[in-house]
């Protein structure tokens, strides 16, 4: 375990000023405030740098559905596993390997002799397809930041004919609507992920703010960026001002990366779909458009997910609280499996598999990342 005990700010004086401001704001507000972020990298940075320890106790920062691996639904993993069982080579990002489907993961399929390749980039999957005439399927996961790379490749006209994509790409903004609309949700504002907003631009959140009367602050990943983002967010919550604030102007513009957006929407359309453990998210999935049907593994092959579903989920998997954790209704400590039956070496739920999953991050950085012992550096 490391990281949480070493509060190292590039500019400690500025960090202290931001933390003091946060405490003053919360004292003014005088009641507990719950806010949510939707990015595994934000959770990593907060846990790693012990930021929660510097927050006032009444300020609760929840990690929402910000781990693309974690929200990839079991039937989607089943489809990938089934494709392997049906003889295809499935290439995917490494984090997906151990994510459980209904009863099997791609690692299980590989151990059973199936062809599964871990790639760093979709281009490596294309390169694999060039070396064979057998079907090569890229199991494409991730939010819009990653989906744009899948889109740009599908727009190329020199792809080998045996290359297809099984899209499990997700679009974050619709999931914020779902959380904000949940009756039992206590969330009063969102910290949006800076790098997804590089693509979409911060303007995309204006509609959300208008509809749910809830502020959104776009923040970067440096500890100081996050603290500055939190100050902006708590100011908005305190004033009751629903607005979008861009606290990461060095990377994010209002319009975002138009060139990438144009390619994204030429290849994908929004489609309702289930996010693991959470809910059906209207328009939350990115589906390949008809024009690219010949690159869509779901339409090129008869994928039979039942092949991979086996006897259904294990007794342990049924107890997994990943979904409730990802909408902020539970924490890993509410889960009977956390740290006992479910550990990184032997994960039950997806949140313990991915380096961006709440459970794994909390476990890795010392269990609960907001213990008092971590205070010191900034305050």
């Amino acid at each position: 375990m490391n990281g949480t005990t070493q509060m190292k700010f590039r500019d400690p004086a500025r960090a202290k000023a931001l933390v003091d401001r946060l405490h003053a704001l919360m004292a003014e507000i005088g009641r507990p405030v719950n806010v949510m972020h939707v990015c595994g990298s934000h959770e990593q940075a907060m846990a790693r740098f012990g930021l929660r320890a510097t927050f006032p106790k009444s300020l609760n920062m929840i990690m929402g559905p910000g781990c693309p691996v974690c929200i990839t639904d079991q039937p989607e993993v089943d489809e990938a596993v089934a494709l392997v069982m049906q003889g295809a080579t499935v290439a995917t990002y490494g984090d997906m390997l151990r994510v459980p489907g209904t009863s099997k993961s791609l690692a299980d399929a590989q151990a059973a002799g199936g062809r599964v390749e871990v790639v760093y980039s979709i281009d490596q999957a294309v390169a694999i397809a060039r070396t064979t005439t057998d079907p090569v399927v890229f199991f494409a996961t991730g939010f819009e930041t990653t989906a744009v790379t899948t889109a740009t490749v599908l727009l190329r006209d020199d792809l080998p004919s045996n290359f297809t994509v099984l899209s499990a790409h997700k679009f974050v903004p619709p999931a914020m609507n779902v959380v904000a609309g949940m009756e039992e949700s206590l969330v009063e504002g969102f910290l949006a992920a800076g790098h997804a907003a590089i693509i979409t631009g911060w303007g995309i959140f204006e509609e959300f703010v208008e509809k749910y009367r809830m502020p959104v602050v776009v923040a970067g990943f440096e500890p100081l960026d996050i603290l500055a983002g939190m100050v902006a967010l708590v100011e908005l919550v305190g004033r009751g001002t629903p607005a979008v604030v861009n606290a990461y102007p060095r990377c994010v513009t209002r319009e975002g990366n138009r060139r990438a957006q144009e390619q994204l929407w030429r290849v994908f359309k929004m489609q309702s779909g289930h996010w693991r453990g959470i809910a059906d998210i209207p328009e939350g999935n990115l589906e390949i458009r008809d024009e690219f049907a010949h690159r869509d593994a779901r339409r090129v092959y008869r994928v039979d997910p039942a092949l991979a579903a086996g006897d259904g989920p294990s007794d342990l998997a049924v107890q997994c609280l990943c979904g409730s954790i990802m909408v902020g209704l539970k924490t890993p400590h509410d889960c009977a499996l956390y740290g006992k039956d479910c550990v990184p070496e032997n994960p039950v739920g997806a949140c313990m598999v991915s380096s961006e999953g709440t459970c794994k991050i909390w476990w890795q950085y010392g269990g609960r990342p907001d213990v008092a012992a971590m205070i010191g550096g900034a305050r």
């Binding site: 490391n2 790693r48 440096e222 890795q364």
Partner: protein, 100 residues
């Protein structure tokens, strides 16, 4: 997976750049970046694609976080491992050994 990693363009051939990440040189695709880029510019790389040209004034502030993470050498740090994963030097994740 969403963190991305900044690097300096060394040379460009068509839509492919050779980019230097703290001494590690990698090919990065330029299909998505929305501003003209040239050797010497810094870009933010995500899974092999430049998603943004980093304005000159912002380079130092952007590099700081990564430089701290790259100093982390004892393993077991998720952020450092994700950054290394973005570099592709360890592969994107850890198919065999999860960070312990």
């Amino acid at each position: 997976m969403c963190l991305g990693i900044p690097g300096r363009i060394v040379e460009i051939t068509g839509l492919t750049a050779v980019v230097d990440f703290w001494g590690v040189r990698k090919q990065v695709a330029l299909d998505l970046v929305d501003e003209p880029v040239k050797p010497g510019d810094y870009i933010l790389n995500h899974v092999g694609y430049a998603i943004r040209r980093i304005p000159e004034d912002d380079i130092e502030g952007t590099l700081a976080l990564y430089e701290e993470l790259l100093r982390e050498t004892d393993g077991g740090d998720l952020m450092a491992e994700d950054v290394a994963g973005e570099l592709g030097s360890l592969g994107p994740a850890h198919p065999k050994g999860e960070p312990s």
